[in-house]
Subunit: 342 residues, 2 copies
Amino acid sequence: MALVMTPRKEQILTALIEEYIRTGEPVGSKWLMDKMGNTVSSATIRNEMAELTVMGYLDQPHTSAGRVPTPQAFRLYIDKLMKKRRLSEAARREIDDRLERATDPDMLMEEASQILAEDTGCAAVTTTPQEQQMMVRRVEVMIVSPHVVAMMLMTGSGVLRSRVCRLPLAPTTEQLTTAVGLLNRCFVGRPLQAVTLPAIQNLLLQLGEDALVCAPLLTAFHELAQTCAEAEVRMKGQLNLLRNPDYHPEIARSLLGFLTEQNQLVRMLAGHDGGLRVVLGNESLQPELMGSSIIVTRYAPHNISGSIGLIGPLRMDYATAIAELEYITQSVERILAQLIEE
Amino acid sequence: MALVMTPRKEQILTALIEEYIRTGEPVGSKWLMDKMGNTVSSATIRNEMAELTVMGYLDQPHTSAGRVPTPQAFRLYIDKLMKKRRLSEAARREIDDRLERATDPDMLMEEASQILAEDTGCAAVTTTPQEQQMMVRRVEVMIVSPHVVAMMLMTGSGVLRSRVCRLPLAPTTEQLTTAVGLLNRCFVGRPLQAVTLPAIQNLLLQLGEDALVCAPLLTAFHELAQTCAEAEVRMKGQLNLLRNPDYHPEIARSLLGFLTEQNQLVRMLAGHDGGLRVVLGNESLQPELMGSSIIVTRYAPHNISGSIGLIGPLRMDYATAIAELEYITQSVERILAQLIEE
DNA sequence: GGTTAGCACTCACCAAGCAAGAGTGCTAAA
DNA sequence: TTTAGCACTCTTGCTTGGTGAGTGCTAACC
């Protein structure tokens, strides 16, 4: 018995995996014989399947059931056997139309997650773009009433965040303008990490007698900068996972629980450099991800970057999902570059 | 056989419902006899239970199981039998501490949903405060680059929204200030519904030769006003529902599906005037809500208002949930009033 | 040596049958 | 009106036997 991969074994394995992806049921030798045009008998296929089983590519739930691909088989399928697919022209146009409506990165990523979840039937996650060094691009306030101002801050990556700030001591318009001017002068073009509490303290000293009145404003700025610094994670299509018959309800629950722990997820997504990567559940160390599969890409126009990911059952339609994800990533990258350059 | 409610029947019914809420299992006559201090025999209780069954308060899954309360029984329990509970001083303080950190209505409602979901084990929803007539309080822009400005808008209810706006024709600072001044002059103190496309058209005319350059700005303002006008719904603790053993996975799925349809939910929540209301699943017309129960309150300081709701299984711990919801509603109302007055 | 037909074998799946246990409804007496 | 006693019902869990899908193995064939 030669335990070596042959073209015919690959052909059998591919057919088996694709049928399994389609139905989720174990695949038998007779079905495979039909599928391959009756060029060989079911007995021959059984022999090959026996070898593939020893080689670790197939598994049988019990003696009298068909075979089921192992994670190792999916790995081979994804890396080598799978035929890449391209999205139809219509699908591409639709995606671009929807994405191009975005006026800022948050909207863009929101829409990207939504499209991915809708089209693939998986759960989709995205992170807002981060720079290696997130920069302060500009800060501005709006006077709402003597005691209330609203502040907004834009980063170098185009992310806009705003918040309300309450001022117990009712500063004058001049005092506010001075304070905001100072903030812009000190921090525009500098990294968000530079907005530290000591730096804010320092600024308060420079404000002299206005310090007391304007202190809440500077604190608000500090908090706003913190908010901008952390990547926002958007997830869509969690319900898709619940609907998926592959997931035992309890498994789905624990998976959703894991996905809600954002920090965990961010670490998963952020931990690689570029290109498309598929991580099968068993390859990660998370017990919650057993039986699942994650596809991650990174978009990175210029020096800013973020992640886009898909989470679905091990038995997902990789060809379609990957085509979809690759195209969306490419479009996001292009549109984001436009958004930032202008 | 006198089909009339007696104190003893109520006592039995209350004990039965509370035990059912605790365990979720049908309750038998022997257990109830123990619970009531063996003052009567199980046979007597069986007789009473038989009457309660005819009266529509109890149901038996099958002949040889104990009894289960019907929705009608829950209705009676909630309206009359249940002993109201008060939150502990510590719990109240904790809630207030967390809520008082909010600087604007969005933060406040976000936190309120979170606390409710954590403490009750149900799903919690809130809507951002709406005025009968949502007012424009102030609008401001921040110049980011020649072609990009960010705009923020605050409403009379204190809700702040911002968005990015792209200007292909690079207006001068003066042109922008004029346009924003015009927006403030025209719309501040007027309802959001007044920000219509014709009104925007009209403004463009007033801008004269600057109209072309500033048009995207006014369109952005229009869209921003639309965003402010629709109540934002926040839901937390969906996972709690999945974890709940009462829900058959498929039911949980369809319930979550229904809850994700925000507009449906908003209509449910908005459809009443004040006070606390409990809607049992069978009383609503939604098939997805069968087996569930919704508790809604309305907070309404001054002329603005919004809803807070809890969604859980029919067999939820009403006493605790209601105490929690009532206290949070009251706190939200108080804090919101402060936020707006200043 | 690789391929194939034939056949015994193994399990999951399903339905039927049976015993145990919980809780009830009914009756007759207190 | 309450209660003890008892027959009755119906779920639950377990076992049994039949069916079918799919396999592994062997012996013959190209």
